[in-house]
Subunit: 125 residues, 2 copies
Amino acid sequence: MIELFGKRLKSLRTSKKMSQKEFGKLFGLAESTIGMYERDERRPDFELLNKFANYFDVSTDYLLGRIDTPNPYSQEKKSADEEAFQKFLNDPNLQVFYKELPNSEEEEIEMLREFWEFIKHKNKT
Amino acid sequence: MIELFGKRLKSLRTSKKMSQKEFGKLFGLAESTIGMYERDERRPDFELLNKFANYFDVSTDYLLGRIDTPNPYSQEKKSADEEAFQKFLNDPNLQVFYKELPNSEEEEIEMLREFWEFIKHKNKT
DNA sequence: CCACTAAGAATATCTTAGCCT
DNA sequence: AGGCTAAGATATTCTTAGTGG
């Protein structure tokens, strides 16, 4: 069985742009503890798992790697997603992203994200 | 926080008309261990939680008492595009893109797309 | 038979301190 | 700063043996 919990946790944490120390502080944990979770060397207890899921608004099934949909229960989110989907579908410039990004290297995505931040920042000034 | 895990586990086990001993045997556990789970005196590890959920065909969110629907996932068929898009918005690292791109300037999107082509080309060589 | 309890043994976890990049 | 590793201290879990309905 492939361990996905660590990857999921790390991905969620970094998506919030938090360090392990910052994240740990929210739950009264040392940074090394978070690191061990993310490397699948330790497991939190159920209480913490529940808190993590609440904090990120995802299902525990997603955190544990049982399913690939973060929060399959929220209905309003679904319709909002469908709206976004229509926009992506109708704009050729956007299609390449939703088709290619999910299968791309983490590093490549990270580069793209940084460049995107750069573009937005440049156009503001 | 009310502990529901024990109740859920016991309910599922008895619904299968199994004794604690029989159930424990399926997972290599002593009967007293099952009893302790059901009284919320002990917790299984993630691997066991996963196995229990699989065995009963329920979500871990249900087992943990986060939701009241045993298995809320609907396995609908989706178009290829929809599937790709689903993967796209399931990845927390990509959320910034699907949230911002549809509402961004055409020019910015074009720049981003060109940079993306550059990244891909660079990594090939 | 079935479930619960107690207690020691076996496992797993958490933190601190140090190290690396 | 951010993340990783080691190791002792701490905390939890699992089983066996025994009790009682």
